[in-house]
């Protein structure tokens, strides 16, 4: 399955590493990613991830990270997913 994730993060030097570590360890592959500093304290991160696992298994773990302020997931239909990842 292909999912899009939209995260709001507390801006810390290691925050991207934290998120990516959890994504990898919980069995998801990043296929596209964009991170943007919103201001000195907040960053936004959009990712497209792939896995056979249910997305809740990832979002529940991401929400536990202290520096993740918000985490939203969307399941993409295969056709739509192709458009996004192509």
């Amino acid at each position: 399955m292909i999912y899009t994730l939209t995260l709001t993060l507390a801006q810390r030097p290691e925050v991207l590493e934290r998120v990516l570590r959890v994504v990898r360890h919980r069995g998801f592959k990043v296929t596209r990613m964009n991170m943007q500093l919103e201001d000195s304290k907040i960053a936004s991160l959009d990712m497209v991830v792939e896995s056979e696992r249910a997305i809740e298994l990832l979002t529940n773990q991401l929400e536990k990270l202290i520096d993740v302020i918000q985490c939203r997931a969307l399941t993409l239909e295969p056709v739509t997913a192709e458009k996004v990842t192509s």
Partner: protein, 557 residues
């Protein structure tokens, strides 16, 4: 020191610890944490010097688990910090509140491969609940406050604070930060109604109790729930001690080395009430066939555990102390209670063994009966650990410290040291095996240093027993690297640390030797030789259903 006073960062660290009621620290000094050790000199906080940072952090874990307080440990940069990693991972998997403070090289040289520099923040990501590196003076105090709050709140866990040397030496004005309390989730009333409805419909409910009950200080609420409902119960390794041992429907531990009665009852149940537990693979066996006909009510503080491995019919995230009383109701399940009682009678342990050799399960069962009310038993990992879980009994979950999630050999001795520091009036026994004992044997010096009256029961089969058992059963008796017959003379070894001891080899010596171990003053090592043919039974083979337990099939090797 008064608010607003100027001081070094290092002095502020000690002051923050004191402000959090920390009375004991476990650690080991080194270059990059020297200013903090300088601030510690003469401070009203007691520091116990370990002889390896892993030992220090395990002592802090033992301290925390035996008392419910947050454990604190110190280590220097580089090797000091890397030596902490195993203990942090252990604390993460067993949800132990711990604050680890590491020294770091100065901010100006971070990233230059300076002497004893390693990226500790990077190392910490997979083995802590959260971690910080302090890079600004004004962040130091708020960061430490946050570390204590995070370690103990929600599902507890280890938090690491890495403090560069220039931050320790730099001056700051001490100000108490505004306390940020992390709010606990409030549970949903509708879900309580749904859970009550499932309870009402159940004819064969079972309670599956995990370590979360003790962590939430919800033992009283759990016991009241059991009294009100009469629901039979089983416990995980970390849940032992939560249900009163004489509770009529209590069947002991479930899972890979659980009691046969516990596993059968769970397989037969039509409703599984999971309290502060997480469907660990050592508990469930083949997940797809675990309690396969049961509906599930799952209660936990950690939302991420709900539905992680088994989809619950009702899941409630929140404080068990509030949820459990809301679920109290009387149930009409007399036929099931009788069936469970019958299972319990049918599958009770048999301690009769012919011959002179010591049978460890029987010995441990006797030890449990001999321990005073205020006692802590710390285990290492392996066969002896499973025998402790099967054959000893505990009054409270904090009386049984076992490395459950990570399964770390070398846990027992330093954890016992920490437990003795946090509960000085308790009788503290470290039950170890000849493999595990050697993994943190240097901590005997820590016992010597403080003359800590820690009792060591060393069960010796001259084997890496659990691995040997699997080689025997699943690897065609190819005993690769599990022979430990070149062990040191353990009693002589203990005596080098001023710890008296003796070796016993026959059944008739057990009673008197256990009495002496429990009642003597000061530390003691009782070295017990057992037959290496004894394995841990029953056993659910890897990948099998809990219904298919292998029964005793010991043979002499």
């Amino acid at each position: 020191m008064k608010q607003g006073q100027m001081m070094r960062g290092a002095d502020a660290v000690i002051k923050v610890l004191a402000a959090h009621g920390v009375t004991n620290i476990f650690g080991y000094p080194g270059g990059a944490i020297m200013p903090i050790y300088d601030a510690l000199y003469g401070a009203p906080v007691e520091h116990l010097l370990s002889r390896h940072e892993q030992g220090a952090a395990f002592a802090a874990v033992g301290y925390a688990r035996a008392s419910g307080k947050t454990g604190v440990c110190f280590a220097t940069s580089g090797p000091g910090a890397t030596n902490l990693v195993t203990s942090l991972a252990d604390a993460l998997l067993d949800s132990v509140p711990l604050v680890a403070i590491t020294g770091q090289v100065s901010t100006a040289v971070i990233g230059t491969d300076a002497f004893q520099e390693i990226d500790v923040l990077g190392l910490s990501l997979s083995c802590t609940k959260h971690s910080f590196m302090v890079t600004e003076m004004d962040e130091l105090i708020p960061t430490l406050y946050k570390a204590f709050e995070l370690a103990a709140s929600g599902r507890p866990g280890p938090v690491l604070v890495d403090i560069p040397k220039d931050i320790q030496i730099g001056m700051l004005e001490y100000k108490t930060p505004l306390q940020e309390r992390i709010s606990e989730p409030e549970f949903d009333g509708e879900k309580i109604a749904a859970a009550l409805s499932l309870l009402r419909q159940a004819k064969q409910p079972m309670l599956y109790v995990g370590g979360g009950v003790g962590l939430a200080s919800a033992v009283d609420q759990l016991r009241e729930f059991i009294d009100a409902t009469g629901v039979p119960s089983v416990a995980t390794l970390k849940g032992l001690g939560s249900v009163a041992n004489d509770s009529p429907g209590y069947l002991g531990m479930l899972g890979m080395h659980g009691s046969k009665a516990a596993n059968i009852a769970v397989q037969e149940c039509d409703l599984l009430i999971v309290v502060g537990a997480r469907f660990d693979d050592r508990v469930t066996g083949r997940l797809a066939s675990f309690a396969e006909h049961a509906k599930v009510i799952h209660l936990d503080i950690d939302t991420a555990e709900l539905g992680k491995l088994r989809r619950p019919d009702v899941a409630i995230a929140g404080d068990l102390r509030q949820i459990l009383p809301a679920l109290c109701m009387s149930l009409e399940i007399a036929p099931w209670q009788e069936e469970v009682a019958q299972l319990k009678r049918e599958h009770c342990w048999n301690y009769d063994r012919p011959g002179e050799l010591i049978f460890a399960p029987a010995m441990l069962n006797r030890l449990a009966d001999k321990l005073p009310d205020d006692s802590v038993v710390c285990c290492d990992v392996g066969q002896h650990q499973m025998w402790v879980a099967q054959h000893m009994w505990f009054r409270k979950p904090e009386d049984h410290l076992s490395s459950a999630g990570l399964g770390t050999m070398g846990f027992g001795l330093p954890a016992a040291i920490g437990a003795k520091v946090s509960r000085p009036d308790a009788t503290v026994v470290a039950v170890s095996g000849d493999g595990s004992f050697m993994m943190n044997v240097q901590e005997l010096t820590t016992i010597k240093r403080r003359k800590l009256p820690v009792k060591i029961l060393l069960i010796d089969n001259q084997k890496l027993g659990m691995v040997k058992q699997w080689q025997q059963l699943f690897f065609e008796e190819r005993y690769s690297e599990t022979d430990l017959s070149d062990n040191p003379d353990f009693v002589t070894l203990a005596s080098a640390f001023d710890i008296p001891g003796r070796t016993i080899t026959t059944n008739e010596q057990v009673e008197e030797a256990l009495d002496h171990l429990v009642n003597c003053e000061g530390p003691y090592l009782l070295h017990v030789r057992i037959d290496d043919a004894h394995n841990v039974w029953p056993l659910v083979p890897p990948g099998a259903s809990n219904r298919d337990m292998m029964e005793e099939m010991d043979k002499s090797t």
